[in-house]
Symmetry: C2
Subunit: 348 residues, 2 copies
């Protein structure tokens, strides 16, 4: 494939490939309000609008069943999709599950997977309404589609951020990636020692963040109770760096992210120190936190400032200012997307 | 996996597995009208209801890119989903595409795939509203979700067939499988001869039925114009035998299918003769025709009897009569599902 008419996929990356494939797609049906390019598509149904989002998880790419229990995997597969609906300021209502399964899996293994799927559905009040199962030649592929609902006036896109808006995140950043580092370290140790039980004590929070993330539907409800409608929102699946770039690109703005404001929990800090990594890098690029990144008007600051669930981490600036991380030493560092890119299959 | 706590997937088969995994799933959200178990889930949106269906196509299981051009594959991946919406008497409006792609594929290959996806969307007035791309470790996996719309009063489920209803099919049966047999024969000949061009003349219709099936949205429109609302409907993806069993099981009825009434085109008959196969077996079990199988009240017979697009192939009977094929010699042969079962990965 070395001749000049072929282009390897890695040359474009995941987002580049989607942009390339979707570039000449036009929206024609009058029921389609918004197509590709946000966390979910938006379909008109009158007062309420329908949101739809899909995600695919591939064995050996997104998960490793040597340390991902199948029940957790099923739970996570649903959660990452619910998170996309939250990112539009909507509530998820239904999911469908499609599986491609290699013959290595047993009925009992799939029962475990479905226990997690059903638990996530029950926990978040979502109905499992169908899907498809088929054979695969290699491993397990899970494709989830989620249908959500939002009142037309409440939809929040990635594109609404305005200069001087405050940039907020829910929860903590980097913990899911920190949890993955623990799991990978213990997997190596387990293999080297041929069977010594892994030592996971003291890392419970970050392991749970990796293995059992939760969609921040509580944040959507809290913002509604506080009467705050974000100007832009996205969920943090690929890392804060990647997501703030999406918001700025879609909103045609720049941004400053203030390093000392990043919410990093102590277990993430601890594993970063042990692995000799910079906690800020993990917080910015780790990905899979499934927290919400959103922007609000400064006039809404008083409504959220006392809420421990939110951290203000920066400001939206005009486009020419660029998208920068303001370090503790006040140096200005352009932010680049270095998060998870599923197509390149590498991290950090 | 030989101990008594593990069950191989093949023991249940595709439908058995879905039934097993979904058996304790309850519908709770008031917007969910119908969940798993028909061609699509049904979601309440007032006068219009939303239909959702998903399908997954796996390389080496559902398609072989040595004889399936990527453009045709993209087209077919969309079409099989549109067909599920037609089977609910609805019209498709939006699709999402999720791809898992091995590094063997180039950007140009995906462009070809997307040409077919976009052509199907344009042809049937459906908007491509998003999706997901990721890496796979083996081949290509395509997962499509389709959103459709139907007026609440017009939905047709699998479960509405009544004793004495007429059983109808659109188009012809078995042609897609006949086309596959030609392709497989020529692939073998090509390999044996190390490069002689395959001889596909005289098989154009059945090859097109295999490579470029069409969803019968025209049938849905025609039935509406004829003022016929079927009592039950399903699309023929797994073969007439499998589909009539679904209708009878869901409607709690039996059925007689009359062999001599089966609509089989002459190319299908010709390849059956060449391959020494029974054309009736191909028509009953071939699958992938994506025609519609539906039942109508006898009082609607006059409305459809002169329409060449439809064939009446049998009658709904009471449950105890069973589901039978009445052969040309008047013998009664119980119908068993022998169609494509994607989980067993074999045909006929």
């Amino acid at each position: 494939m070395g001749d000049n008419s072929t282009t390897p996929l890695t040359e474009l990356g995941e987002f580049g490939l989607i942009d390339h494939l979707m570039k000449d797609v036009e929206i024609k049906d009058k029921s389609t309000i918004f197509g590709s390019g946000d966390d979910a598509a938006v379909i008109n149904n009158g007062i309420y609008q329908t949101l739809i989002s899909t995600d695919m998880l591939v064995e050996g790419v997104h998960f490793d069943i040597t340390y991902s229990p199948l029940k957790h995997l099923g739970y996570k597969a649903v959660v990452v999709n619910l998170s996309d609906i939250a990112a539009m300021n909507g509530m998820p209502k239904q999911v469908t599950i499609s599986l491609a399964i290699s013959s290595r899996y047993t009925v009992e293994a799939l029962d475990e997977l479905y226990k997690g799927i059903k638990l996530a559905c029950e926990t978040y009040g979502v109905d499992l309404v169908g899907g498809d199962t088929t054979t695969s030649r290699y491993g397990l592929v899970i494709s989830v589609a989620v249908i959500g609902q939002v009142m037309a006036d409440n939809i929040v896109y990635r594109s609404g951020a305005k200069e001087n808006d405050l940039i907020c995140v829910s929860g903590t950043l980097g913990a899911a990636y920190a949890g993955l580092m623990v799991l990978e370290r213990e997997k190596k140790a387990f293999k080297a020692s041929k069977g010594v039980q892994p030592d996971l004590q003291g890392y419970e929070y970050i392991l749970e963040r990796q293995l059992k993330p939760e969609p921040r539907l509580d944040v959507i409800k809290a913002l509604q109770q506080l009467n705050v409608k974000p100007t832009a929102m996205i969920d943090i699946s690929d890392g804060l760096a990647s997501e703030i770039l999406h918001i700025c690109e879609n909103s045609d703005t720049g941004a400053d992210i203030i390093e000392e404001k990043l919410p990093i929990d102590h277990q993430t800090g601890k594993i970063a120190e042990e692995m000799k990594l910079d906690p800020t890098t993990i917080a910015m690029n780790g990905g899979e936190d499934y927290e919400l990144l959103f922007t609000i008007s400064q006039s809404d600051y008083d409504k959220i400032k006392d809420n421990p669930a939110f951290a203000v981490v920066g400001y939206i600036k005009e486009r020419n200012a660029g998208v920068n991380l303001i370090a503790r030493d006040q140096s200005v560092n352009p932010i680049k997307a270095q998060g998870w890119d599923a197509l390149l299959n590498k991290r950090l």
